[in-house]
Symmetry: C2
Amino acid sequence: MNKTVLAQIDTIAGDISLNTDKIVNCIKKAQSENADLIIFPELALMGYPFGDIFIRHKSIITRQLKALNKIVKLTKNITALIGFVEPTEDISKKPFYNSVAVIQNGKIINVIRKRLLPNYCEFNDYRYFEPSKETPELFEINGEKYGVLVCEDSFNDKSFFKENSIYETDPVEELMKKKPDTLINCSCSPSRTGKEHVKNKLFSSIAKEYGVNYIYVNKAGYSDNLCFAGTSRIYNKKGELKIRAKSFEEDIVVVENLQGQICPVPNGMEEKIDFKNFNTEYKTDLERTYKSIVFGIKEYFSKNGFSKAVLGLSGGLDSTICAVLLADALGKDNVWGISMPSRITSKESKNDARILAENLGIHFFEIPLASVLDSFKEKFDFAFNNVKTEKFEKSTTIENLQARTRATILWSISNEHKQMLPIATSDKSEAYIGYATVNGDMSGGFAPIADVTKTKLFALGAFLNEYREQKNVIPQSVLEKPPGAELKINPKTGKTVSAEEDNMPYEFLDEIIWFVENFGFGFDDLMNHKFLYEKRHQLMQELKEEWIKKFFWKSKCAVYKWHILPPSIIIDAHSINSVEYHQPIISKVN
Amino acid sequence: MNKTVLAQIDTIAGDISLNTDKIVNCIKKAQSENADLIIFPELALMGYPFGDIFIRHKSIITRQLKALNKIVKLTKNITALIGFVEPTEDISKKPFYNSVAVIQNGKIINVIRKRLLPNYCEFNDYRYFEPSKETPELFEINGEKYGVLVCEDSFNDKSFFKENSIYETDPVEELMKKKPDTLINCSCSPSRTGKEHVKNKLFSSIAKEYGVNYIYVNKAGYSDNLCFAGTSRIYNKKGELKIRAKSFEEDIVVVENLQGQICPVPNGMEEKIDFKNFNTEYKTDLERTYKSIVFGIKEYFSKNGFSKAVLGLSGGLDSTICAVLLADALGKDNVWGISMPSRITSKESKNDARILAENLGIHFFEIPLASVLDSFKEKFDFAFNNVKTEKFEKSTTIENLQARTRATILWSISNEHKQMLPIATSDKSEAYIGYATVNGDMSGGFAPIADVTKTKLFALGAFLNEYREQKNVIPQSVLEKPPGAELKINPKTGKTVSAEEDNMPYEFLDEIIWFVENFGFGFDDLMNHKFLYEKRHQLMQELKEEWIKKFFWKSKCAVYKWHILPPSIIIDAHSINSVEYHQPIISKVN
């Protein structure tokens, strides 16, 4: 096998000059190592994901093609595979192909065009690209013959996917008729729960079935809510994994004779997820979840010119987990945790916030809210009387006021400082039912855990206490007390109302979310489903029905909030992140 | 010609039972009028736009097909054309067709499948639908032969579009080989600047070219940032307009022998827009703009269960125009305008706000902010000292604090009252360069003018003063003073800083936006372009360059804000509304 470089790099959509520099540097390094072949991820020169930018801003395409010509001249004694957006120049076709240029010794010797264009979830290939109908030619280096696939082209193996095959053509099958020795797959494939298992099995089974070497080069980076793990790899003709690059970071791997390192992947990342059985352990997904979020925060901050974060520390689970993730991503010196107690905040919560901050070593101080809330309330007496006759009937107003005042303080602190972003600490369970305040805890420059459900956050908290070098940074009480926003008092108990009293048990809610997202369950399906919660507790059918109805009603009202969620990181197999899933505000789903 | 009903109705995505009731009622009405044929808009039974709802929530499709069967039984003595989502039942194809059922006397006699699937701007047909490759059969009523087109199928006439034709096939040409007497086009076609002109010319030219009657039935309604004008119509075989339904409202038109009313359209709506020459008159687009927004507000509020609006009245242009539009859409008794002056708010602004409210007859009162701002600032002295050594260097912090405090008060008022939404008053020019405060004037339950530029708002203000029954509700001073957020004082002049001092003249900014949106202009194109502003004023090339660079830099930083804009109404030919245009936060366009 030829000496091959897997260039597992990250590039930025439309930033052609940055992308070109990165590609050129990799080629130079490969040449200095006397490599025969260097492979970049899908669309490396344009950067991915790109949304609609080159449809509206046409000069990006011009700049990209100029850059490609420049790169071509620098490929002395090497073959380079570079993904780019290729104009079709045929008005009756889509304007572009999603292509890979095969550049050899100063010439483009072949252009491979993507055949299968995914158009679901975060993928919108057909919005921009014409699907190629041709099986590409092989290219040759020192007698070894290579066939090239672009990402999805490798995802329709009929013996693997069986009835889940969604395209007519299998480009692998057709390409293999030309008898390549090695298949190369240039990809931009985001990490999601359960997906790494499929990729590993699929690539290995293709290699084995056809007796071909299989090289997979994936982007490593974060952009626009998507986290690309990298984890590029090579399988030999028996389907055995021989080389694997790092996960959640860029990596340049030089391979000779199929010899190299098999870097570890996060624990359980390639295990099969049993989607049909909901559980609250999430064991095989916790390290991947942690690494995805930490990588996502790092990348979002650095690519947007930020280095510091400020967040409210309530002593509750959400802000606690966010603080740990931020400290690990940005460094403890770059994180400010602010405790902002109101009159109803418990001593325990204040303590938990302070202890966490001390354990982590992040900056910490307290700003009591009472005087600001009082000055607002003074205005309200007047304002509400002016709008209607009854006054102050809704506790929601004052609950939300606390959350909004906190966010105003966080935004002000971030305003005053360079490179600082305030953090939205909302989680996925609460986003689903709109249990978060607009301009309050929902607001921020970034929302690290918006695609992590509450039960998974509990599991993640316990995991972090064991996994991190410094053990037990999260106070045990945070992992044990019932979650609640501490925004109102229950007059019967005299205690703050827990979120589960307001809504339903999180274990039940998260199982609804699981089956709605993964299997499209509607009301009837959910009523017929035996919940984990039902196995563990007595549950009257009337209450079950009430909770399921509450879920659909509350999530209908929450869709507006989904539309204005800050940028985040998609973690699960499915999400309500607008990059993946779009639901109009005016719509009905059940 | 058969007695025909154009059912220009509005339906809601996924709300199958509501849509079915509406369709059934129309059919009954048509039957009671002894009509032969009733035509509904594209996808009337599913409702449009639907985002991804039936991909995730599969039971919607089941419910829809049951409802179709129910409707079929009710079509005694009539032919009904009903748009629906049809499963393909072929796993190697996309899962659905975008279809029209031709139902005659209790039977589905034909299913017409959409052939041209638009996949640009707000359209994503190919994400869900398989394009049909077949020319549909005609159907017949009393010897008259009909051919059916689904929306885009009519938009590839090569003699009309010439080099702008974007598909290989022209379904009209192919359908006409079967020699229908009448073409029917079932559409869901949103209103945009310049689009009504194209539709009118195109349909008329097809009718004339082929010597065929042409019936166009469009949805009238608002959903998910799109405004559908309705304006259904019939052209005779000479291409003459014979019937036109109402614009911006539902309408059921019964037509016999091509006789009927030609309802007026908003002034200038069907005139050709000269996109190559920017001007600040906008004359042909003002009534349509006004009607679109008023219709959009009405629909958004009623469909989401709201009836009242509260907004901050600064005495500036944006909040003034919003107040007029809200009063016209919801009724003056349902609008609350709150003046929230800080210490630097001018007397003139306070007066202008009060006079406007009095003129409109909306509710009005004043809440001075000083005490709330002081209570925040007290906290900041402490907080900022805890974060860094220098204190209070940025005026932005206090500027934004004013905007955020105002929004907090508005959200609190809306919280306290039933069916009330706070309004985000941001305009399009400011959204482009991020000149709006997160959790401040950018925040609200709805943003009526987020797709209207500042120069167009000035023109709209003057138009409203003449057009509305009650003349001159907007104080002349509002239309004359330079716009500015009144958030900071210029130490040199002692006056508040105007927005144009902070950024660039709005006339210049709006022309950049015009050419970027309509022609994809980049930096070089803009430098080579002669601006209207340059014709009217002396402008140094250095300053021109500075402004253009400032535009690209500021809009790069503003992309985050575009992602969290509240729901709005797309007005212009192009926009930054995420329903139409997606730009990743991590990206570079120039």
